[in-house]
Amino acid sequence: MTSLVRFFLNGRDATAVAEPTMSLLQLLRDSLGCFGVRAGCRQGGCGSCSVLVDDRLVLACLVPAQRVDGARVVTVEGLASGGRLSAVQAAFVAEGATQCGYCSSGMVLAVTALLKENPQPSEEDVQEAIAGNICRCTGYLPIVRAALRAAREGTVEERG
């Protein structure tokens, strides 16, 4: 029993066929080519598939694909605009907060979600915000510095 799912993906209309047990992660990667959404553990344990659904941070591996019908979904591919990185992305580059890069898209979205809600977070706020996102390079300090830099330097519009 497949279903046609229509939603807004990175500001554009998207349509895809979803099986009943399909996750948003499968839909985004396998049907829509959003490979910035990482398929890490696919169990909700690593945070690498973090995306925004209606401005809220969620794990795409745990969201049933059919549930996003009508929703606004933002992946890392949707953060830059007009060839310019978002403030959070630019801060990750400036602080060298990427290392191997596998966790980066999820980390960037977790920080983006934090700054939407709390524009001037403390270091502890940042730590709590990225607590569900694992960096196996263990490069957490530059990631925290990047989040604080984005809060300091980015305008609200630049934060994606």
Binding site: M1, T2, S3, L9, N10, R12, A14, T15, A16, E19, P20, T21, M22, S23, Q26, L28, R29, D30, S31, L32, G33, C34, F35, G36, A39, R42, Q43, G44, G47, S50, R56, L57, V58, L59, C61, L62, V63, P64, Q66, R67, T75, E77, A110, A113, L114, Q127, E128, A129, I130, A131, G132, N133
Partner: protein, 286 residues
């Protein structure tokens, strides 16, 4: 549609050729799989009762979707509860009724359930709390079940048209077959709750032992411990020493990847003492 499909993020996608994660995809869709979105609690309860055990109630998806990814899901019918309006927190006559579909984030932020905020925030990271629900956490005997059982909370169940209630600590997975958790109710809202989750990391970590201490209106302590997906152990006693003694007699922790049963037993007084300190407003080390 049509040709536009698949162009959202990449110019070229080989559709359906393989799972792009590189892992052999085990949850091949079955022809009998179905995804149902009932529009009312009555309808959801009826479908669930009629289709057990091959159906599952889909709350936040944090447990159910992981089973599908793992290829170990023993059901093929998903009953999506997101459109039946169980996402409210209501207060009446001094009590609180928390809808099963309230998210952990929603629970943590709601002014009427501030006493459960620490318990809700102890679970997962922000992305998990935006998805995971009160009903789901209670159904798997999570950390929230420890907090709720210390408060004497009850689970409101629907099995078809039949309505029943059961104490949170009395919940067992076999009770849930074919039944819908509608809400969790508290006879009265406490001012505060002493809650402490002893874990390896401060955030997004499984519990070694989770403990909750509630001072009842007659000055006694109602104390619960658990946190490892077994029904919480609950006692009422005059003071902490008596509660700890009684609790350690009945406490039957499990061994898993987080901690051994023996270690959990050793840590029970630590978690209990910390929860008691929180209940008394004393500072605890983080």
């Amino acid at each position: 549609m049509g040709g536009e499909q698949g162009m959202a993020c990449a110019d070229h996608v080989e559709r359906h050729s393989q799972d792009s994660s590189g892992v052999n995809l085990r949850n091949r869709p079955g022809v009998n799989d179905s995804y149902l979105t009932p529009a009312s609690t009555d309808e959801a309860a009826q479908i669930l009762a009629d289709s057990a055990p091959r159906s599952v109630a889909l709350g936040g998806g944090t447990m159910v979707m992981a089973l599908f990814a793992d290829g170990t899901a023993p059901f093929n019918t998903l009953i999506d509860l997101s459109r039946i309006g169980l996402d409210r927190i209501d207060t009446a006559d001094g009590g609180v009724r928390i809808g099963a579909m309230v998210t952990l984030d929603g629970l943590a932020r709601h002014p009427q359930t501030a006493f459960l905020s620490a318990a809700a925030r102890s679970i997962g990271g922000p992305a998990i709390r935006n998805l995971a629900t009160v009903g789901g956490n209670v159904a798997v005997c999570g950390d929230l079940a420890v907090a709720l059982s210390a408060l004497g909370a009850e689970i409101e169940l629907r099995r078809g048209r039949e309505r029943t209630t059961i104490a949170v600590e009395g919940w067992r997975p076999d009770i849930g077959e074919g039944a819908l958790i509608v809400s969790v109710t508290l006879p009265r809202a406490p001012r505060s709750l002493g809650f402490y989750k002893l874990a390896r990391r401060r955030h997004a970590s499984q519990a070694v032992v989770t403990a909750a201490v509630h001072r009842t209106s007659d000055g006694r302590l109602r104390v619960a411990a658990g946190g490892f997906h077994r029904p919480p152990s609950v006692v009422e006693a005059a003071d902490l020493a008596a509660a700890g003694e009684a609790l350690s007699q009945m406490f039957e922790p499990v061994s898993d990847a987080t901690a051994s049963a023996a270690y959990r037993h050793r840590m029970l007084p630590v978690a209990l003492g910390a929860a008691h300190a929180v209940a008394n407003g004393e500072p605890t080390s983080k």
